[in-house]
């Protein structure tokens, strides 16, 4: 995997030197090894901090909403899942495509820092990666033991880019992404209510999910807008927990690419992606399979219809 990073740095160096791009959007090393963070590099010299390893889980596409507005072309490295968000943002005219040079990069699943902690690793001194394993501080883990939830079910492919850096075939997903949705659907209403009450009552309204979500790029969120009629800054009642997450999921329904960032960043470990996946699974079931971000032209399922669509009263008919 070192080879991948080297190739990426070479690519960035070449494009910066030739002047084709003036900035590079990638990941920067952290203090503890796993705390890699997205960063913009503006010179070849600054690339010493550039990294690409098993900890680069963050989705870079949303940063382009602001970065692509600025002067000069920017090089961005897109993992498969980032690419879907990128396409969706292109479709919604949120990124100026002409200002972006895209390079698709291989990804074999990224490490979940919380799982590292569970295994007693508080900071990383050295790490290496193969397609199926990660070795951290000399301890080898199988990918399925250590990677992020979103990576366990990932079926995303490399799409089309200006360039691609990839050496290995992508590993197969370890789980079906709708498994948990199905499990919840099979429960009784009371059980589901208890499940979500338990989960959502943990919400502290830190807005991390909203801030990281590549589909949430509104200038001003309805929950921050006093004129929207539903503004609220904190959950002062259990109703507001539900309100916030239902409306947020509804606003991204049909646009959510299932990148899983919401659950990755939630400090309370609420499985927020299960809300989005419910919409995705319903859309697939009722209106035909649809993967947001697979292309930049198709009409989303909520801005589309067929005359023979199922009636809301028959939605549960199949169950």
């Amino acid at each position: 995997m070192q080879r991948l990073k080297t190739a990426m740095i070479e690519k960035a160096t070449a494009l910066l030197t030739s002047g084709e791009v003036s900035k590079v959007l990638g990941w920067k090393k952290g203090e503890l090894g796993f705390d890699v963070e997205p960063a913009v590099f503006t010179s070849v010299d600054s690339l010493v901090d550039f990294t690409y390893d098993a900890f680069c889980g963050a989705n870079l596409s949303k940063y382009l909403v602001e970065e692509s507005k600025k002067e000069g072309k920017i090089l961005v490295f897109l993992k498969p899942c980032d690419s879907y968000s990128f396409n969706q943002l292109i479709k919604e005219h949120r990124i100026k495509k002409e200002n972006v040079y895209t390079v698709g990069i291989e990804c074999q699943g990224k490490v979940d820092p919380y799982k590292l902690k569970e295994n007693g690793i508080e900071f990383v001194t050295d790490a290496s990666e193969t397609v199926d394993t990660v070795t951290v501080n000399g301890k080898e883990f199988k990918k399925e033991e250590i990677i992020l939830g979103k990576c366990l079910t990932c079926t995303k492919k490399l799409l089309s880019y200006d360039d691609v850096i990839s050496f290995n075939e992508k590993r197969e997903p370890s789980l079906d992404r709708f498994e948990m949705v199905k499990k919840l659907e099979a429960m009784t209403a009371d059980e589901r209510y208890a499940f979500w009450k338990d989960q959502l009552s943990n919400c502290i309204r830190c807005n991390a999910c909203r801030n990281v979500c590549p589909a949430c790029t509104c200038t001003k969120c309805v929950f921050d807008n006093d004129n929207s009629g539903i503004a609220s800054k904190a959950n002062s009642d259990s109703f507001e927990e539900k309100m916030f997450h239902i409306i947020r999921a509804f606003h991204v329904a049909g646009r959510c690419t299932d990148c899983g960032e919401c659950s990755r960043v939630c400090p309370q470990h609420i499985p927020l992606h299960l809300l989005n996946r419910k919409f995705i699974s319903d859309i697939d079931r009722l209106y035909g399979e649809y993967q947001a971000g697979e292309d930049t032209e198709s009409k989303g399922p909520l801005t589309n219809y067929t005359t023979g669509d199922v009636d809301p009263s028959d939605v549960f008919g199949g169950k």
Partner: protein, 146 residues
């Protein structure tokens, strides 16, 4: 909890599109086809005007059931509005069900301007179901209740 307190009558908010269902409700009225006074109608231009926010807001404020009525698919005054409403409500209601909220509390019905009898029948049926379900507890906001 399931038993409806005599003091507290169920409260039902009905969003009706101006062109078909609101007219259907008018026809129910002029035909003297009664339905419970628990049902309060809000006029919207089209079923596609109904934002999920309104529905959640209604539950928050103490509604026990929310029903959306629009033109029959294919008859929308604006050609396509109810097709979008149909998808939106299918997904929203499925989500509410997923969160454990009783699926009988929400409903979509297509009522034409000529279907006064249907309007009344639908409202009677819906109000009956809501009375059986009792007070909305799962989507309530305690601050909004006395």
């Amino acid at each position: 909890m399931q038993e409806m307190n005599n003091e507290k009558k169920p409260l039902i908010v009905a969003f009706c599109c101006n062109w078909c269902s609101y007219a259907g409700a008018d026809l129910a009225g002029s035909s003297r086809l009664s339905y419970p006074a628990d049902v309060k109608i809000i006029r919207v231009p089209c079923s596609c005007r109904v934002n999920p926010m309104f529905i959640l807001k209604a539950f928050q404020r103490g509604a026990d059931g929310v029903i959306i009525c629009g033109c029959h698919p294919g008859d929308c005054h604006y050609t396509t509005g109810n097709y979008y409403a149909r998808r939106r409500m299918s997904l929203l209601f499925s989500m509410l069900d997923y969160l454990g909220i009783e699926r009988e509390r929400t409903r979509v019905e297509w009522v034409s301007a000529a279907e006064g009898a249907k309007f009344s029948a639908v409202m009677n049926d819906f109000a009956g179901k809501i009375a059986e379900l009792g007070e909305n507890k799962r989507l309530e906001d305690l601050r909004c209740k006395d």
